[in-house]
Each structure stands twice: as C-alpha cells, then as structure tokens.
C-alpha cells in the first residue's frame, strides 16, 4: 500500500515536471516568434515601453490589454483604416491623436501571429545587462592589478630581507665592507675608455633628442583634441557601417569635407535618444544646441540655437591650398588613405603627418587613371611622351609649386 502511494506520488511529480517544462518551452517559443515578427514589422514605428515614448505611433506595453479587447486589437492590426471607417469610437480617437497617420495594414497576419506579437509586447524586452557586465569587468581588472601589487611587494620584501641577511653575515665574518660608489669610482679610474664612450653616448643622444624635437615643429601628427561631444566614430562608422560621405557629404563637391550640421545628426537621433556607452548625456547635447524636446519629439519654437563648437583636428597652414573634392571625387581616394582607420577610432586623431614631403611623396607614387574618356587625347599624349611608363600625379604637374602655394 505504502509503495503504491509513493509510486503514485512519483508519477504525479514526473507528469507535473513534464508539463511545466513543456509549457515553458511553448511559451518561450511564442515569445521568440513574436519578437522576430515585432522586429520585422512593428519596431520601426512602435517603441517597446511606456505609451509616452512615441515614435510614429505610441509605445506599446501590457497596458494595451487593459484599454482594448483582443478582438479589437486583431481588427486594428489587420486593417486599421477599415476599423476607422466603420466608425469605431476608440479607433477614430487614436487616428486623430496621431495626426491622421494611418498604421500600415497587416492583412496576412494569422490570429496566432498576432497572439505571438502581443505575448512579446506583454513580456516586454529583456533587461539590458550591459551595464552590469561593465561593472564586473572593471572589478576584475582592479583585482588582477591588486594581486600583481601584492606579488611585487612580497618580492621587494624578500630582496630587502636577503640583503640584510647578507650584510649581517658579512659583519659576523668580519669581512671589510666597501662603499659601493667608491668601488665604482676606482673601477672607472682603471678603465678610462668607459668615460670616453659615456661622453660619446651623451652627445649623440642629445643630438638625436634635439633632432626629434625639431622635426615635430609644425607637425601635429597624433593630435587628438578633446571634443565638446563624446562622438564615437567607431560606433557610427565602424559598428553601424555608416558611410563617411553620409555625414561629411560636402567632401565630394567642396574644398572642405564638411562638419555635419546638427540636422544630419537629427536624421537618426530624433528617435535614438540613448547611446550605448554614455546614455542620454552626450545625445542631449545635440538637443540642447538645436532646441529639441526628446519627450514630445518636437522642436522648441523660437529657441536660441547655438553651434556645437567642434575642435578642428587637421590644420593645414594657410600657405598651402588643399581641396577635398579633387582628391575624393577626381582621384577617387578612400578617406582612410589620409585619415587612417577612423572607423576604429573612439576619438579621432590626426593620422598622417600632413607635411609637404608627405604630400609630394604620394603625388610621386600615385598613378593617374588614364581611362577617363573625357581626357582621352590628353592622356594619349602623356603616355606617348613617357614611353609607356606609369604616369603619376607629379608628371602631370602635381609637383608644381603653384598647384598648392598661391
């Protein structure tokens, strides 16, 4: 009897465990499907969170289940325009509230699809754990450093101890202790050639030091000024793959590569209000400059806009003329040729020397594109003149003084 009872209990437990496992499995499956549907169809207009966080439509969270019935949501998602036309009161209110912006109809969604999406909305996005990870790594870093310090201090203590023991032993054996500096002095007296070498060394290193210092005058290579906004080229250009020309759009047509005006930032940052590293702080500096309220997503009328005072990194002297469009548009150079791997830089620095020798070297080595049909006759003339040699920029006048100095 007893064993029968226990086996029954066992069975119950097994069944219970099985059903819970199965239900969690199904449950998570629903959310995963809902998540992919949501990201593919809804995320460009609806933020997942409080209703006040508006993108094109309201932010979505579990409150929508209190405000609307499931049947209403089915109808609204499949074809909101139809629902509005049918004279539904709630639908018409929403339509008016969002400036008559009609939501895209999704007639092909099955009830199951919509259920999955709604389940995803109910649960909400997973909590971001990035900040926690950062904290743990920094703690780990400091831990490894402390252990290093502990090892070093133990070593130092041992050395001091050993020296002390040695001296005590010498005292006990009554060996005469010599002064360290005195012994070095006697050794130098015995080997005068060492002094000659030492002086040569000092003179040479002095000369080399002077040369190095002089050669940095007027060369601002590795200059990395602090910028008013902690803008990361690595995040924008590297991780997100935005083309350089997107922001520096005048590089193709103008002398200057162009510092993007704030409206270019706002193309994305109207909706992206939080950065991955600095949170809201740095992005708010854009809003402050241009007078934008991220909560209502509107520009403040009659706001006294002020420029963002970026610090210029590449300062060519006024006596030299440089034109971006000639190099980007005509020569077809990559930006990285002169500016280095900007897409890997958190903060931009001057990669190249920007000296005249640096310019002229590139003009000597770079071959021109002789395929351009517009200059066909001219190019043919040059190819004949240089007997089929590579025609480089300096051969067609790229090294003449007046090209850059006038």
């Amino acid at each position: 009897m007893n064993s029968l009872l226990s086996s029954f209990v066992k069975n119950v437990i097994v069944v219970f465990l099985f059903t819970t496992c199965l239900s969690t499995f199904l449950y998570s499956q629903d959310i995963a499907l809902g998540e992919s549907l949501y990201k593919a169809n809804c995320a460009s207009c609806h933020y997942l969170g409080p209703e006040e966080k508006k993108l094109i439509g309201p932010g979505l969270n579990d409150e929508i289940f209190e405000e609307h019935t499931i049947e209403w949501l089915y109808k609204w998602i499949r074809n909101s325009a139809e629902l509005i036309e049918s004279g539904d009161k709630v639908a018409n209110e929403l339509y008016e509230e969002y400036n008559k912006a009609v939501m895209t109809a999704f007639p092909h969604f099955s009830n199951q699809d919509i259920d999955n999406i709604l389940e995803y909305i109910r649960v909400g996005p997973p909590e971001v754990t990035a900040s926690n990870e950062q904290v743990t790594t920094s703690i780990e870093g400091s831990e490894s450093n402390t252990s290093l310090y502990i090892i070093l201090s133990i070593l130092l203590f041992n050395i001091i101890l050993l020296v002390h023991v040695k001296n005590t032993l010498k005292n006990a054996a009554s060996v005469e202790r010599t002064n360290f500096f005195a012994s070095v002095f006697y050794w130098l007296k015995a080997n005068p050639s060492v002094i000659v070498f030492a002086s040569i060394l000092i003179v040479f290193s002095g000369m080399k030091g002077c040369w190095n210092t002089l050669s940095t005058i007027g060369v601002a290579q590795n200059y990395q000024p602090e910028q008013p906004i902690a803008f990361s080229h690595k995040i924008h250009s590297g991780d997100n793959g935005i083309d350089c020309n997107y922001c520096h759009h005048t590089a193709r047509s103008s002398k200057h590569a162009g510092i993007p005006s704030v409206n270019v930032c706002m193309n994305c940052h109207t909706y992206i209000n939080e950065g991955a590293i600095t949170g809201k702080e740095e992005i708010n500096k854009i809003y402050e400059a241009v007078g934008f309220d991220p909560n209502t997503r509107t520009y403040i009328p009659n706001y006294d806009q002020k420029p963002v005072e970026w610090v210029r990194i590449h300062n060519l002297p006024d006596l030299a003329y440089f034109n971006h469009s000639q190099h980007v548009n005509v020569a077809g150079l990559e930006c990285q040729t002169c500016h280095g791997p900007v897409e890997e830089m958190e903060e931009v620095y001057q990669y190249s020397k920007l000296t005249m020798g640096w310019c002229v070297n590139c003009h000597r080595e770079t071959e021109i594109d002789t395929d351009n049909p517009y200059y066909h006759d001219l190019h043919k003339e040059w190819i004949d003149k240089y007997h089929g040699e590579e025609v480089t920029v300096d051969m067609i006048g790229g090294r003449e003084c007046a090209k850059c100095h006038y």
Binding site: S44, C45, T104, T216, G218, P225, G241, T270, Y271
Partner: protein, 199 residues
C-alpha cells in the same frame, strides 16, 4: 671581460637609438597641437570656414542662407510636408533624368553612401545599423503590405520616394540638405532597379 661587455652595451644603445623614429607605430596621442615656427605665416587673420566669428551673434562663421533667397542651381520643391502632398507628388512627379547606365551607376554609388546602412546594400531592409528601431526597414521588393502611400513598397512611385527623401518619412529623417535634386533622382533610378530585382 668587463671591457668587452661595455663595448657591446654601448654599441647596442647607439644602434637602438638610431633606429628609433619619431613617427613609429606606437602612437603617443596628445591633446596639444604642437608648436609652429613663425605661426603668422601659417595662420592668416581671415576667418576660416567653420571658425568662431565674433562678428555674428551666435559666434559662428557658418551662416544660413538669407531668408527668401535660394542658392544657384537649387530646384524648389512645391509640395508640402503632409501626407496629402506625399500622395499627390507620388501621382504627379516624373523623373526628369534620362534612364541610362551612367545615371544608374551614379545612383548606386550615392545609394551606398546615403541609404544602404538602413535599407541594405540590395534594398532588402537589412542595413548595417544595429539599433532595433532601424531593424524593421521594409524591403523594396515587398508586394504584400499596403503602405500609407496607398501602394506596396514595390509599387512606390518615383514621386513618393522624392518626397520621402526631401522631407523624411516615418523614422527616416529629411535628407534634403545632404542630397541635391539631381542626386535624389539618380538614387530613385537605382531604387527602381532594386524594386525589380529578386522577382
């Protein structure tokens, strides 16, 4: 023994110092721009393109165009930034450029610069932008969902796209300041090709 060691040591030091170059790869980044010899030859008193400028109230040399003027070569756009005008421009506007390979190729280059990071290199909406908000960009070949234009993405007309590039649409910002009128039409010509593909 000691002498030999000294010779070697001195030689090693001199050689290593001679090899050292001020522009080696181990970069020492600095907040200081360095020094210039006779800077008044380098920096003229005139204001540079983006330099601070005490002559204006906002201390900026970069100015907006005077109100009521348009730059040379500028093509005015006569439609308003409303949904009605969006649909209207979709019905009325025609691409003024000749549909040839050169224009399409230029359009592709511009598309890669200005559109591909959201709309994807082949227009499928899978751009390189990581943010979830820009993860739901519709594909140009989508023939299923009827959008606010009254058409599907595949059925978007040139005018719809021109209006959207100029004023922005949904989460897309206005690109009028970055892309001029001709460039917009070239991009649209390339997008027309993307709409055709994969079907």
């Amino acid at each position: 023994m000691l002498n030999k060691l000294t010779y070697i040591l001195v030689l090693v030091i001199i050689v290593t110092m001679g090899c050292g170059d001020s522009s080696s790869d181990g970069r020492e980044l600095t907040r200081h721009p360095g020094y210039e010899y006779m800077p008044n030859m380098y920096r003229s008193p005139s204001y540079e393109t983006y330099s601070a400028n005490p002559l204006f109230n906002d201390n900026s040399t970069a100015r907006l165009p005077v109100k009521g003027t348009i730059p040379r070569g500028y093509v005015p756009f006569e439609y308003e930034n409303t949904l009605d005008d969006y649909i209207k421009s979709g019905e009325e506007l025609i691409n003024p450029l000749e549909n040839n390979l050169k224009n399409i190729e230029e359009g592709e280059a511009l598309y890669v610069m200005f559109c591909a990071h959201c709309h994807g290199k082949n227009g499928d909406g899978n751009g390189s932008i990581q943010h979830p908000l820009y993860g739901a960009v519709p594909s140009y070949t989508d023939d299923l969902l009827v959008r606010r234009s009254g058409t599907t993405m595949k059925g978007l007309s040139d005018g719809h796209m021109y209006h959207a590039i100029t004023y922005g649409f949904n989460a897309m910002g206005p690109h009028a300041s970055q892309i001029n009128s001709d460039e917009r039409w070239k991009i649209i010509m390339y997008v027309n090709e993307l709409q055709k593909e994969n079907n």
